[in-house]
Structure formats: structure tokens, C-alpha cells
Amino acid sequence: MATKKIAGIDVNVNEEGFLTNPAEWTKEIAVELAKEEGIELTDAHWKVIDFCRSAAAANGAAPTLRAITNGSGVSTKELFGLFPKGPAKKVAKISGLGKPEGCV
């Protein structure tokens, strides 16, 4: 396991750059991780991220894309528009969570 300095904080990350401890995540880190993916975070992005953070806190795992669309009120189209080219990994990564567990 490696550590990486993101937004001035040393955090533990895995080989794909996902935070391994969700508790180390901050909003500033999310902004930096999003930039790495070429995404400028807006209120719509935060709605998704906030939902994922609370879902993960409740269930212990990052929500699947369908859990996000069902739970946050953000449609599939919007979700793929906000986090283009691979929202499953991007949303989880920016939210400081592991990859979603589950197929849908």
C-alpha cells in the first residue's frame, strides 16, 4: 500500500489510486481527485458524492450505479454526463470509497 499527498494531506491509496480509508477523505481531496479525472465539481456532482458517502457510511460499501440513481434522484443519463467514461469507478474514487460491490 502506498501513500499519496492529495490537497496537502498524506492519504493511503491502493495501486489504482483509490483511498483505502474512507475516513481520510475530505472535500478538498474530492476536488483534487476529480481534477485528475478532468472533472470540475459542481453542485450536481456533490449531490452524487454526498449520497455515496452517506450510503457507504450506512452499508460499508460504495453504492452501485443503480443504487445511486435510485437513491439520489439523479438519472442514469445525468450520472453518465456528470462523470463521463466510466462513472462506476470515477464516482467511487472521487468519493474516497472502494469500488462498488455488486453488478448493477
Binding site: 438519472s75 442514469t76 462513472p87 448493477v104
Partner: protein, 166 residues
């Protein structure tokens, strides 16, 4: 990140429930991971895009040696006698059991899955030969089917893609 995105193409040739879900599950996973998805519907796979058929896909117990009575709550792996499979209503019964089980696992219905794939950017195409054979028209298809294309067109549009035949 200027590299070409990975591309995957599915050829869906079956309309039985158990053969319909694989492309839906894998296609959705691919889109979630940023992989470009194209699906070509042919032969019985046309049922997946046919408005009149999409909500009525079934799974028959006949000649399905893996389907055991444990689906009905009978423990162990006791087979379903093939002769029972020919009783009217058995296919509907098996299909409703499977659909109930999937609903319990929060697996979307075929129609909902197809809508999710379209919204996520999948490209759907119908096979020209099957369209002619089944006397179908573009109006018979669900939204999201971009065009009716030939096998040759499909080969052109899937250059460099990984192809999965189901």
C-alpha cells in the same frame, strides 16, 4: 488520456430469459467502466428490442438440465421430469419464479435494463436479415435502436472491438 477507449460488442441471438441477461449485465458493467458498448440484435435476440415481446420473455424448463426443483423451494438438486415440462403453464410458472427471484435481488427487468443501457450510451442495432425474416419495422422497436444494419455494417462498426456472441 488520448488513447482509444476499449470497445466491446455483443451479438444477442437468443430471447430466453437466461440468455438475455448476460449481455445486459456485462454491457452495464462495461459502460460503468468507461468501455464503449455496441449491441447487435439478431434472430431470437430481436425479442429484446421488440416492444411487443420485451416484457414477456420466458425460460422453459424443457431440455434445461440445470433447472432443478430447488427453484421452487424443494431442497437439493432434484430434477424436473421433462414430461412435466410439457404441461401447459409450466414455462410461465418457471418464468414467474425466476422473475420473482431476480426482483428480490433488485435486478432490473429487461425493459428497465435496456433503458439504462441506452441512457448510459450503448449503441443498439437490429439485424437486417432478422428484420426481414420476422416482418418487423423500426417502429416495432423500443427507443434506442439506432438503425437496422447488415452483417457487413456490423463488422465495419466494430473494428477493434472485442466481440461476444450470446
Amino acid at each position: 488520456m488520448s488513447e482509444e477507449p476499449r470497445k466491446i460488442a455483443f451479438i444477442c441471438s437468443k430471447g430466453n430469459l437466461d440468455m438475455v441477461y448476460p449481455a445486459l449485465v456485462m454491457g452495464w458493467a462495461a459502460l460503468g467502466n468507461g468501455i464503449d458498448v455496441t449491441i447487435f440484435f439478431t434472430f431470437w435476440g430481436m425479442d429484446m428490442i421488440n416492444k411487443a415481446r420485451i416484457d414477456h420473455l420466458e425460460i422453459p424448463p424443457i431440455a434445461n438440465t440445470s433447472m432443478k426443483m430447488n427453484m421452487m423451494g424443494i431442497p437439493g438438486y432434484i430434477g424436473i421430469p421433462q414430461i412435466m415440462g410439457i404441461i401447459p403453464g409450466m414455462t410461465a410458472f418457471a418464468s414467474s419464479l425466476m422473475k420473482k427471484k431476480m426482483k428480490g435481488l433488485e435486478v432490473p427487468t429487461v425493459r428497465e435494463y435496456m433503458e439504462m443501457l441506452v441512457d448510459a450510451g450503448a449503441n443498439f442495432y437490429a439485424c437486417k436479415m432478422s428484420v426481414d425474416m420476422f416482418d418487423l419495422k423500426k417502429e416495432d422497436f423500443i427507443d434506442g435502436v439506432k438503425d437496422i444494419v447488415t452483417a457487413g455494417d456490423f463488422m465495419d462498426m466494430t473494428e477493434g472491438a472485442q466481440i461476444v456472441f450470446i
